[in-house]
């Protein structure tokens, strides 16, 4: 049987994690194709509904990744993201969405190597969790 290939939606901020992904690319570092990057200007603009939508549309994992504390281009967007992730981690697991499917990380613009490493690890962990809604036909 083919190994399960999870689909992971990653909301990455323009200034840090997206730049790190860019750096990983220009440095010819590989990372799994399971990650679908969505570039946002700041993790502070990731409304909880983006995450909910991703899961209901069948994402097996969602990553939000932005600047390290103190580095936010908009001063404090990443702190707001942290509260929203905390909120979602309180809501989603009650309805069977495993807490480990939603992740928040800080990856700075110069962390190209770390970016590719974290993406690899994230895919492995999500693969172990299995598909999110294997036989959900009707939804959303």
């Amino acid at each position: 049987m083919e190994p399960f290939e999870p689909a992971i939606i990653a909301f990455v901020c323009n200034w840090c994690t997206y730049t790190a992904a860019d750096l990983a690319g220009t440095s010819r570092l590989a990372y799994p194709k399971n990650i679908r990057l969505i570039r946002v200007m700041c993790t502070g603009m990731v409304d909880p509904q983006y995450v909910i939508k991703a899961f209901l549309e069948g994402a097996d994992g969602v990553l939000i990744s932005g600047c390290h504390p103190g580095d936010c281009h908009y001063i404090n967007g990443n702190y707001k993201a942290r509260r929203r992730v905390k909120l979602l981690k309180e809501i989603l697991p009650r309805f069977g969405i495993d807490d480990r499917r939603l992740r928040l990380t800080w990856i700075g613009a110069s962390d190209g190597i770390e970016f590719s490493h974290i993406m690899g690890e994230l895919v492995e962990q999500t693969r172990e969790l299995g598909p999110m809604l294997p036989d959900l036909k009707m939804v959303i």
Binding site: I52, R82, K86, E90, I91, R94, L104, L122, Q125
Partner: protein, 381 residues
């Protein structure tokens, strides 16, 4: 400054006593208009009414078990800008809590309004209230019948049961407003006490010619403790049932299966305050090919779509402010027990941030701030 007065009651007629109290407040404390549940002139129904003529207070009915809307929403309409006069409002404790949340979200102001709150025995759903009220000759008779036993420890007889949200409410006490009218422990031998909880409440009571409270109500504390114990037991059982019934996404879909996306729950929710909800915008008027693509991918999709998405998003957006008033259930045309679900989620989201919606006007809403160093467990793989 007067801390508390007693409201004289003649012949056990609490309703008339309450009306005289409100009339005195209006006439002697410089209130230009009062928002109070009152009888509609056209039909035996109760709605929040904005009364500026004290003579109309004969229709006021703060004791009725009717709870057609959460009046906090209406009060924001009156207080979001100065109204050009001093206002008062008679609110249930959950309405005070909802108003406090709205004030924190800059939707209204507490400064311009004197809030009078009553200990709350719970309310009926709209449909139960209609049946109940129609069984009496007048609304006054219905309210008196309800008020007579609402706080007594005797069995309620043939009175209908209050809503699930009310049975699970653990803050029915009138301490959130400027003036609280105490009824827990009501033995009908002593007159009810109106107690000031803020300076403006004290100022309002000072102008009245009401006698000081009689003997301190001894039974009050015990009565509150015992009703809270009953309610917490009900609530814990209810939460356990909801948790069991919604523990997977398919189970949650089943719980919400009767939803027709009318969004009445959102409209009735006092703390869902956005003037335009994203679910009513063109964002959710998907392209036709999108629907077809979903149907192809899943074999079939329910129309209207986005039901689960709507409810989960609403939980994320407002559960930290949910005061558990139960109006979402009341507004649902298809009898989905929404408030059971939303109070269950709210309990946990508010708990995670050590927040209780509406209780402390100075506590900052969780999604309205942050600390530089907090929740390290959230970050990282």
């Amino acid at each position: 400054m007067t801390q508390a007065v007693s409201i004289p009651i003649q012949d056990h007629d609490l309703l008339t006593g309450m009306r005289s109290f409100l009339t005195a407040i209006m006439e002697k404390s410089g209130i230009d208009a009062i928002l109070v549940p009152a009888r509609l002139s056209v039909k035996n129904r109760i709605m929040p009414m904005l009364i500026s003529d004290p003579a109309c207070l004969t229709e006021a009915d703060p004791l009725s078990p009717a709870f057609p809307v959460n009046a906090a929403q209406q009060l924001t309409r009156l207080t979001r800008q100065p109204a050009g006069g001093r206002l008062a409002a008679v609110l249930r404790p959950c309405e005070v809590r909802a108003f406090n949340e709205l004030v924190k979200l800059n939707q209204g102001r507490r400064e311009d309004v004197l809030i009078i709150s009553l200990d709350c025995p719970g309310a009926l759903s709209n449909s139960d209230f209609r049946t109940f009220a129609d069984g009496y000759d007048s609304l006054d008779a219905a309210s008196r019948a309800f008020a007579a036993t609402a706080f007594s420890s005797a069995p309620a007889g043939d009175l209908p049961e209050v809503t699930s949200a009310c049975r699970a409410c653990d803050h029915p006490v009138c301490d959130g407003g400027d003036i609280g009218i105490e009824r827990f422990g009501d033995d009908q031998a002593t007159d009810p006490v109106a107690r000031a909880h803020t300076e403006s409440g004290q100022a309002a009571l000072t102008g009245l010619d009401f006698p000081p409270p009689q003997a301190p109500a001894e039974g009050r504390k015990a009565a509150i403790q015992s009703i809270l114990a009953v309610r917490r037991r009900y609530r814990d059982g209810m939460f356990a049932e909801v948790a069991e019934a919604t523990n997977t996404i398919p189970a949650l879909s089943t719980y919400l299966a009767d939803c027709v996306n009318c969004y009445n729950c959102r409209g009735a929710c006092p703390v869902c305050y956005c003037t335009t909800c994203v679910f009513s915008t063109d964002t959710f008027r998907h392209e036709p090919f999108q629907y077809v693509q979903w149907a192809r991918r899943k074999g079939e999709i329910k129309m209207p779509t986005d039901t689960l998405f709507f409810h989960l998003t609403r939980m994320a957006h407002m559960s930290c402010a949910c005061v558990g008033c139960g109006q979402c259930t009341n507004a649902c045309p298809n009898d989905i027990p929404l408030s059971d679900l939303f109070t269950y989620v709210a309990r946990h989201t508010q708990g995670a941030f050590d927040y209780r919606a509406g209780l402390d006007i100075n506590a900052r809403p969780p999604m309205n701030g942050f600390e530089e160093e907090e929740y390290p467990e959230i970050v990282g793989l």
